[in-house]
Point group: C2
Chain length 281, copies 2
DNA sequence: GATCAAAATCCCAATAATTGAGATTCACGG
DNA sequence: CCGTGAATCTCAATTATTGGGATTTTGATC
């Protein structure tokens, strides 16, 4: 972290202001939040606006602009993880009742990248783009389990440690992770949504480099031992097959996508959809 | 255009490399394309990668990353144009057979932002994020008609001028635009897709400041004079109502979203979906 | 239409941050 | 174990960026 391109980071920091809680920012609020001088901020805004990353809202605010949509449209059809994993979730959704997801892990977040649902209506599905909690659930655990130990330790919020299960001690947790890693999948009952069982497998770009997960969630009501075993086998095999594409040849260079020094809080992952806009006086 | 934040623009230029034709770039190809020195490029890449805008592809390439998806997810629910226009296209799709679109105009492009389709299966719909041709169709004409004259002149590619209709002279075209502007809507038969009629109305943030359009496209087969008149009235009124939200109070400051010095070519708007990747040797 | 306040931009010198050539380290495969 | 190519580091030169304050532009009000 020696080298830094400060100016670029300062521009991108503007985009980071926009969250589910605050979707509209006035230039003055930005100045206060970021501490930039007025001419500098306006220079940055001009750059972002003429590139389409920001647009003016009716009032005096700014919101995210259409370039973001254009890029996502491109990404949908170039992300190698989507390309590689799409056939698998399609099969999963055909074979079992529920919702199959591809998720990516980045910067201390888990993001749904693509989903496929079986014919019968699924339980509350995370839509594409929705951040997911890293503290709970099969997906998060399967990723945590494959992280280097220092990242594991950093990401665990002690306050919610108990949520990881009855085992609270660090050693017990480490043992759990080791088991998950060896199994190649993880099953969780009702940790994210009550009455829903999730099975997830890690997608690895190297020994200890999880980049995402493939998973399926089903209503616990329709689950039985035989079916669960079949799902777990399919998830494990799918995850391994996809990982093969990313491990096989070549590199995972610039592996700097390591988690930042975040401590995850609940508000990072809004459960509800719409929230009232706050304006600061 | 006196003030410029060069460094930031150079970083954003990296994202501009990714197009429908070329979805994967190696660092060396980037160096060649952009002319950055190696350390500088890698500094930029580090910034973009750790922010999640780029990720490593299996080979030695880079593709767009999950942060793009996350931002688009946010934008979907904060764009005031979507918020304002969503009810209208819902009504339109209920009332008439076809596909109703909200489009945004930015940087010499028209981008589909949201769409709603009526029960009966529609004709080839543009999905969210897809760029559309600015040279043809009701949407483009309704936006062109409401642009300042210097922008109109700049955007018209003389070579395809004839496509604007039988009127080739500048005066005739200007007369057409004036009429469209006064009418408050525009109807086009089969200009984008044969056998499809489109009706579009402008969404204005000021006298000569179109920011997008609301439109509906139907199969010409199901169209008749009465129905078309009803559609045109609904489109005109919807467009006016939405524009009211953007004109009414306050500003459209930083109106620097003016079109760049592009000349639009067909390849800016790929009609087909998948294209083979080109790699440079 | 003229005037006023707020918002956005311009000017320009100081300075701090960015840059790139070359050396170095790192990652991986043979 | 070593060799090859990729990625990063070092560091001095210099360039581009920054911000205070003046200025223009915008939109609102009278």
């Amino acid at each position: 972290m020696t080298s830094t391109s400060g100016s670029g980071e300062r521009i991108l920091a503007i985009l980071d202001l926009f969250t589910a809680d605050r979707r509209e920012w006035s230039p003055d609020a930005m100045m206060a939040a970021l501490g930039y001088s007025r001419p500098t901020l306006y220079r940055y805004l001009k750059t972002l606006k003429s590139a389409g990353y920001l647009v003016s809202a009716p009032g005096d605010g700014l919101t995210l602009g259409p370039r973001v949509t254009e890029l996502d449209f491109l990404m949908q059809r170039c992300d190698p993880l989507i390309t590689a994993a799409a056939p698998f979730i399609k099969i999963l959704a055909t074979r079992y009742p529920g919702v199959a997801l591809i998720t990516r892990w980045y910067g201390s977040k888990i993001l749904c990248i693509a989903s496929e649902r079986s014919a019968d209506a699924p339980v509350s599905s995370y839509p594409r783009g929705q951040p997911m909690p890293i503290a709970r659930g099969a997906i998060s655990r399967v990723i945590m389990a494959n992280l280097p130990r220092r990242d594991q330790d950093r990401l665990i919020d002690p306050q919610r440690d108990m949520l990881a299960g009855p085992n609270t001690t660090a050693d017990a947790r480490r043992e759990t992770y080791r088991a998950v890693r060896r199994m190649g999948y993880c099953t969780a009952w009702g940790e994210v949504t009550p009455g829903v069982v999730g099975v997830a497998g890690p997608i690895l770009a190297g020994e200890r480099m999880p980049i995402g997960a493939i998973s399926i969630t089903s209503a616990a009501a329709v689950m039985n031992k035989t079916r669960l075993a079949a799902i777990e086998r399919d998830i494990r095999d799918s995850a391994a097959a996809i990982s093969g594409i990313f491990c096989a040849r070549g590199s995972a260079p610039l592996r700097d996508l390591s988690p930042a020094n975040h401590t995850i809080t609940d508000q990072d992952f809004p459960a509800t959809d719409q929230q009232p806009r706050r304006h600061q006086p």
